[in-house]
Symmetry: C2
Subunit: 260 residues, 2 copies
């Protein structure tokens, strides 16, 4: 399981202002902190970037790459920003991501072919709603894979995100239990060792006491990990969750144990 | 997942001295504390009880029953002590337990038939060694089930303990990963919804810093829980582990979520 930092978000005022002023220093400093905290890949969540999207994403990618050679996830629904980021990228890069939403199939998916990069596909209906049951998730995965094949991209480039639902959402628990099977069973369904990713913060979104939010993360992450999750997207500042993530890696490692 | 307290152990000097003096008060007090901490069943680990085993186990069972009607696990390899406890038991009672070890097949297993109680079977070779791979565990489960059938006991009485290995043991990690599949796959192997139990404290036994011990527990318990473990045997004084256990129950509950 690879730990992906979800911390670099444009909704962070410090990052927003650094991007507005094209000032790399605050971002460099933050990325170094994420790496020290244990990030093994960096999600760059730029949001839709309504003004100067190309310049801003290019700036973000260049800035992050200037301090780390870790893999980058380019997390935007703006295809212009995305392409500008892909042109600039030197690190291993993952598009985050596409879904069955027609606009994303047209504007995002082909970029994975054009730039020969990994791409994350969300298990969502074309209207962006979440399939609840395991069967619905698996059918959605098949639809997604068919679109992926139509785009003529190598199987090895696909990473599937089964989309964790908020715990307090009416069907959240039901869906999240289904996800555990989905992650385990996707490789058999698609016939190749498809990688998976899950964004942990979604689980505890909503009005939940902070301590409960952390406990939810710490309890669900080992379940995801044991199901075979490839990439865990999380807040690397959550120290207890990071400790649990490291122990999960040790527990599930084929190597003889070590605390490293 | 039902939380079973592993706290009531004769190795605790307070309990040892109370048993020696047949003084019920310290034990009653402790059991009340275990229940308050969240125990949903009580394992009575009396050890082999070399002197007056019958009297001591009968005393223990009577004492615990005087303060709680939670299920009891009678945890001794002394069949005389065990039978004395079974005669005394009014609560739901589980024999903990038998294995393929010839002595246990002869002296322990028939007591489940005689007293019509649940019984735990350990997935161990006849020489008490741990089978490492999933296949070896599953073969051992079949052997165990054959012996169980020979004893003419109802399937519904069987609970299987796949025996968690110490993390620092050479093959511990390998075996413990196998256990997760074993727990999930046993019902399909045996053809009925066989229950499972695992003793969490074994995982962190050995020379490991305390904080790491707790992290190991907190990380492995959700994995066991997601695999479908029925009974988790653990130290109910480990508050963080108990919090995680409760969140696991919420996450995996078919009910709409609640924090209770």
């Amino acid at each position: 399981m690879i730990i992906v930092s979800d911390n670099l978000q444009i909704t962070n005022p410090l990052i927003n202002s650094a991007v507005d002023q094209m000032n790399p220093e605050p971002i460099k400093k933050l990325v170094n902190i994420y790496v020290t905290a244990g990030a093994e890949a960096i999600d760059i969540n730029s949001g839709p970037l309504t003004r100067s999207p190309e310049d801003k994403m290019a700036f973000l990618v260049k800035t992050v790459q200037s301090v780390t050679d870790l893999p980058l996830l380019l997390d935007t629904s703006n295809s212009k920003a995305l392409e500008a980021g892909l042109i600039e990228s030197r690190n291993h890069t993952i598009i985050n991501g596409f879904s069955l939403e027609p606009k994303k199939l047209i504007s995002i998916l082909p970029l994975a072919k054009k730039y020969n990069t990994d791409i994350i596909g969300y298990l969502l209906y074309p209207n962006s709603r979440v399939p609840i049951d395991e069967t619905d998730c698996m059918n959605t995965a098949l639809d997604l894979y068919l679109e992926f094949q139509k785009a003529d991209i190598d199987d090895a480039r696909l990473i599937i995100d089964p989309v964790i639902a908020p715990f307090i959402w009416e069907y959240g628990n039901h869906h999240n239990r289904a996800i555990l099977s989905v992650i385990k069973n996707l490789p058999a369904l698609l016939g190749f060792p498809v990688r998976t990713i899950a964004g942990l913060s979604n689980l505890s979104s909503g009005n939940i006491p902070l301590e409960r939010k952390r406990l939810l993360e710490q309890s669900f992450l080992p379940m995801l990990s044991a199901s075979g999750l490839t990439l865990a997207l999380l807040n690397v500042f959550h120290a207890e969750t990071m400790s649990v993530a490291r122990v999960c890696k040790s527990l599930l490692s084929p190597e003889v144990f070590s605390w490293v």
